[in-house]
Amino acid sequence: MGSMIELKELTKRYGDTTAVDRLSFEVRPGVVTGFLGPNGAGKSTTMRMMLGLHRPTAGVALIGGRRYDEIRHPLHEVGAVLDADAAHPGRSAFTHLACLARSNGIGKARVNAVLDQVGLAAVAHKRVGGFSLGMRQRLGIAGALLGDPAVVLLDEPVNGLDAAGIRWIRSTLRSLAAEGRTVLLSSHLMSEMAVTVDRVLIIGKGRLIEDTSVAEMRDRFERDVLVRTPRTAELTGVLTRLGATVTRTGDGDLVTVGVDAPAIGDAAAAASIPVHGLTPRSATLEDVYLEMTNEAAEYRAVAEGDRR
């Protein structure tokens, strides 16, 4: 049921800062796609351009083959939350949603249904100004779900949420994707994405760094084993013959890639080489992500330092 999101050479410049730089990618239906990047990478700017709030300097973003501002009654096709604080504090949750619903020909029954779905039915007629951050996030999501859209876009939806709120968003998004919808959510933290998303788009400095699946990213980890032995030269020979790639650390330890810890232990025992330490190491998704975006983040820190 979902529609494809396509970006073609999307670019946004503010004066001489390039916030988004010739960004091209596709977001497919049926899976949750994470849109990752460090602070200032251009995630919000990109999403605002997809939704017609910001005008691209160049390039286009298409949802189901059309620009967002070409869609009539768009809430039926796309639901989005860009900002948890985007409701008038003087209106009640119900009137806030009812105004949005009315503009897209959606009835009040549906407003009550989404309020129920996000767990705000009890406070439907309370002023939004008194809501906690978690309640405002839920209200935003209720607004996104009003038209039962095939595409859902969320900018940093778990910012400021407690553990229960994060779990709720996760399961909501996963079930939306399972129903065949296109789900894109942004974050600057890999850790919160790892369990929620199937695919990741990683950007830095407004450019696409990676377009991959979480499974692929895990497989690409360098898994290595740190081996400590008094007879490094002999063990290096043994392990190399097993097909491992062996390097030496500054402390005289061996870093072994290509064979796992039990195989190393067995081979050392068979050759009667004593082993004093055997530590399997695996990078976390967070490590890999940080490594990928490091360059972009460093550049940004330097650039900001220069400006001051």
Binding site: L51, G52, D69, R72, P74, A86, H88, S103
Partner: protein
Amino acid sequence: MNVFRDAVAAEWMKVRTLRSTWAFLAGGVATTALGALILFSLVQSYDAATPADRANFETADPTVVTMPFVMFFIGAIGAMLITSEYTTRSIGPALLAVPQRRLLLGAKATVAGLVGLGCGALFALLAFADARLVLGDRPKPINPWPQWTGAIPTILCAALIVLVTCLVAMGLGAIVRSTAAALTTLGALVLVAPIFAHFLPTVWQLRLASILLPNLTPQLAGSDHPYLLSQGGAAAVTAAYVLIALTAGAVSFSRRDA
């Protein structure tokens, strides 16, 4: 599927559910009540005066006193249609729901126009009712309308000018985006500028006063007034206000990032 009709219905719902709308309406009511009070005391001193003095009384047209304030309050409702969304960031969801900027602005202008015309007519009629009740059938010059039918052009034109003010204020809101800035500019335009005009050299005084929004009412109605424009000229200036405000508002609203 009528996108424009739905957008207008949503804007109507928004204006009804803003507390400030009702506060500004209350401001209009208070102004009208105050105007009635002033008129009442004026008539008392008129009744106490000698016939010779009575002939020197100025015309007690309540629309001259109250309508500039009504224009400010009702215009504020029009400005808030846009500025309340920018100041609370609810412009984001509003544009997600209706991403066609011109269409959204058109829907807001329609509601501003309806509110302006409705409230303008209401308050102009209230001022007229005041005058009838308090002045009764006292003669000219204190009574501007010894025959009630004489008031019809003034009432219609006063309502029209409130409508125009509401559209101008909405256009201002689209340009400045901030409630404070929009209301300050609106106040300057309808309340301060007419006073300021008095401090200009005499030639300029009349020229400026003739094109100010509150002073367009008598010029449009063709009633007794000191200003320079013919009815046709006043109509042209009125149309220019609407055209300039809506065009500038639309350009600003559709060109800039939300």
